[in-house]
């Protein structure tokens, strides 16, 4: 059963200095999905995220969470933020406590849990993100990759149903990026919804169930990765690249290496398999 | 003729807090090359860069610039810094002036040039980096991509022979990354040497003449991109990925789509051409 989590209706946002960040954007987000948000710098991704957490209020339009309109009184916000966690892009602005364990416990403590409960949550979150060894380290001694994992742990410890991540792999090398993506896969197995923004079209293509392309405060396209990246016009308009697996697949179809009837490869392994398969056909 | 620009001999660096950032590293950098420095966070890339500009002094070992040992008196440093420019990763820590033109003119002013000369240099640098339209804008209204270009312009305006860039494309989307790389290509045509550090193996593979892989304060490997990325052990040790063009090429050779005698593809276009060529062979 796919229940609707967020339903955004004609959402517009205009900042105090009159810049318009979102232009009557409508979007539906279903439970348990892995959603990638693509778009260039300044497309409005971060503004949208801040709305999903109730930090910004719409200039016009409405946001429904689990069918109820989002309200902005203290009690409603408390309940919304308990269920929706955001991991921000710059971990330096997210980690504000002196030590790792203090930082991870910031959220659960604010939920008013008992000390034992908080500790339980924190330990669980550290286990999921493999940050237990960093526990007593001061946050400013961590590497970027470690900081990002601690930031994720801090949100996980609040046990939200939806986790939003702003550019979780930006600035990380391949090794740490994979580590982060592994953490996300573990989380997703627990039926949590994950929404992330990224510049990495290859990551989005291979990882996401759904891809949302944003440009200039609007949603250009929202569908499964293959459908989205086949729309060349949209990809060009949003200044995106085509994922190389897809580009390669198309080149191989054109080059008659892969038959044009074959389903498009969704990741590197599938592509390699198709090439091996072609080879076997030739040998036969 | 390839003259040697930097010759680094057994360079070690130990910070005041006793972390050892460089371990008797030796490296030769030739004039007019495009060099990519790869390595995970904490490999010592930034420390190395600060040595090349005379900001850090070696704990042991020597650095020669154009055959002469680098000295650390004021006059020698001024001359070194006139010839070697660094663009740092975070433009907010590099741009200290409120207006773009003030910032770009800072370096040339320090060289003691006349106002007209300064203006000439600034205008030239703005033209190269396509920042002339930003001229009168205050720094705080610029986007990240614009700030990065202004930071490059500020270094270019000093007309150095070597330009060092720390992660010039980090945090930028595909569109702005390409813009930065275009700027670098323009600069390189003027016989300048460019050294950049990056996490993006695909960029390094396609762009660089030489790739240097660093790990834990040491140089693991220094050669042309193809040779470097063929050494699987080293790539693994430095937590790097194989560039997809190369990986794909190998898969196609294994899949017998491309003959194993063929030279390895150095970029996407070459790879596509080889596939088309294969197709034609089959048709014949």
């Amino acid at each position: 059963m796919e229940s609707v989590l967020f339903s955004i209706d004609q959402l517009s946002h205009r900042y105090a200095d009159d810049t318009i960040a979102l232009k009557s954007l409508s979007l539906t987000i279903k439970q348990g999905k892995k959603i990638a948000l693509l778009g260039n710098n300044g497309a409005g991704k971060s503004t949208l995220f801040l709305h999903l957490n109730g930090i910004l209020q719409p200039t016009s339009g409405k946001i429904y969470f689990k069918g109820k309109e989002v309200a902005y009184n203290r009690k409603a916000l408390l309940s919304l933020r308990r269920q929706v966690g955001i991991v921000f892009q710059d971990p330096d602005s997210q980690l504000f406590s002196a030590s790792v364990i203090q930082d991870i416990s910031f959220g659960p403590k604010n939920l008013g849990l008992s000390n034992e409960k908080v500790l339980e949550r924190v330990e669980w979150a550290m286990e999921q993100t493999e940050t237990a060894v960093l526990k007593d380290k001061p946050t400013h001694f961590l590497s970027l990759g470690q900081k990002k994992r601690v930031a994720i742990a801090g949100v996980l410890a609040m046990d939200p149903e939806v986790i939003i991540l702003d550019e979780p792999t930006a600035g990380l090398d391949a090794y740490y990026s994979k580590q982060i993506m592994n953490v996300l896969n573990i989380i997703q197995k627990q039926q949590k919804t994950i929404i992330l923004s990224t510049h990495d079209v290859n990551l989005a293509y291979e990882w996401a169930d759904e891809v949302v392309v944003m440009h200039d405060g609007e949603v250009l396209c929202h569908s499964d990765p293959v459908t989205v990246f086949q729309q060349e016009e949209i990809i060009k308009k949003a200044h995106l690249d085509t994922p190389w697996v897809m580009e390669m697949f198309q080149a191989l179809v054109e080059g008659k290496v892969i038959s044009s009837d074959e389903a498009i490869a969704q990741n590197k392994e599938e592509l390699f398999q198709k090439i091996r398969f072609n080879n076997m056909k030739i040998l036969q | 003729m390839e003259s040697v620009l930097f010759s680094i001999d057994q360079l070690s660096h130990r910070y005041a807090d006793d972390t050892i950032a460089l371990k008797s590293l030796s490296l030769t950098i030739k004039q007019g090359k495009k060099i990519a420095l790869l390595g995970n966070n904490g490999a010592g890339k930034s420390t190395l860069f600060l040595h090349l500009n005379g900001i850090l002094q070696p704990t042991s070992g020597k650095i020669y610039f154009k055959g002469k040992e680098v000295a650390y008196n004021r006059k020698a440093l001024l001359s070194l810094r006139r010839q070697v420019g660094i663009v740092f990763q975070d433009p907010d820590s590099q741009l200290f002036s409120a207006s773009v033109i003030q910032d770009i003119s800072f370096g040339p002013k320090n060289l003691g040039l006349s106002n007209e000369k300064v203006l000439e240099r600034v205008e030239w640098a703005m033209e190269q980096t396509e920042t002339a339209v930003l001229k009168d804008k205050p720094t705080h209204f610029l986007s990240l991509g614009q700030k990065k270009r202004v930071a490059i312009a500020g270094v270019l305006a000093m007309d150095p022979e070597v330009i060092i860039l720390d992660e010039p494309t980090a945090g930028l989307d595909a569109y702005y990354s390409k813009q930065i790389m275009n700027v670098l290509n323009i600069i390189q045509k003027q016989q300048k040497t460019i050294i950049l550090s990056t996490h993006d193996v695909n960029l390094a593979y396609e762009w660089a003449d030489e790739v240097v892989v660093m790990h834990d304060g040491e140089v693991l490997c220094h050669s042309d991109p193809v040779t470097v990325f063929q050494q699987e052990e080293i790539i693994k040790k430095a937590h790097l990925d194989t560039p997809w063009v190369m990986e794909m090429f190998q898969a196609l050779v294994e899949g017998k789509v491309i003959s194993s005698d063929e030279a390895i593809a150095q970029n996407k276009e070459e790879l596509f051409q080889k596939i088309r060529f294969n197709n034609m062979k089959i048709l014949q």
Binding site: A98, P138, H140 | F96
Partner: protein, 235 residues
């Protein structure tokens, strides 16, 4: 005795009426542009300038030894400005703005702080429309000269007497804040003596009005500074 009580209850009434006028964001302590008569504006500029010059001289001396100090001071000015643009969740439910004078002084000393304070006030009048240019001298005297001095001496004195670090910091920050408002009230009283009570009567009126916002603010600023210094010393 009865008289005293009635007087007090009357003052309370008077303040409750005033409270109605307090908008959400009260920038109470900056004397606004044009409020001071020209002779007083000039007078306070004249009082403030010497301490600015002394401050600049002492900075110049230190900068030749440690060039990075200049960057440090500039960045601290930016920090102090940003601090003053933040809202403290205050005990009264309204929001107030920390001045950061106490914090800066404990860290940099009063002479450097007077220059930084002056620059911050300049930016507040130019970018936030708090205070003004003709009244900058008076505002700088209360907030950038007297405030830092009080913070400095209270902190040193409290340490000497043997108070704990936290209490010394709290007293320094809170008293600097209170001292600032007393000076501002005095400046206003000098410029606008009341008919009946003269300068003293006018001072009583101004200082009791500002006490309303400033005492809770001084307490929250003191607590905030202690929290910050505590965390900072742990780093």
């Amino acid at each position: 005795m009865l008289r005293e009580i009635i007087k007090k209850s009357f003052i309370i009434l008077y303040f409750s009426i005033l409270l109605v006028f307090i908008p959400k964001q009260a920038f109470a302590m900056h004397i606004m542009e044009g409020f001071l008569p020209i002779e007083w504006a000039i007078f306070w500029w004249g009082v403030t300038l010497p301490s600015l010059i002394i401050g600049l001289r002492s900075i110049r001396k230190k900068v030749t030894e440690h060039p990075e100090l200049k960057m440090m001071l500039g960045l601290s000015g930016a920090f102090a400005f940003v601090l003053s643009a933040l809202k403290i969740p205050s005990v009264t439910g309204s929001c107030s703005h920390p001045t950061g004078v106490g914090l800066g002084t404990v860290l940099f000393g009063p002479t450097a702080m007077s220059v930084i304070g002056f620059i911050v006030l300049l930016f507040q009048s130019l970018l936030l429309a708090h205070g003004g240019l003709t009244t900058l001298g008076a505002n700088a005297f209360s907030m950038a000269v007297v405030g830092p001095l009080i913070a400095y001496f209270v902190y040193k004195g409290a340490k000497k007497v043997g108070f704990s670090f936290a209490i010394s910091v709290f007293l320094a920050a809170a008293l600097a804040d209170l001292g600032t408002y007393v000076v501002t009230s005095f400046q206003l009283a000098l410029a606008f003596p009341s008919e009946a009570g003269g300068i003293a009567g006018s001072f009583a009126k101004f200082s009791s009005i500002f006490a309303l916002t400033q005492i809770p603010l001084a307490i929250s600023e003191g607590i905030l500074t202690v929290i910050i210094m505590n965390v900072l010393t742990k780093y």
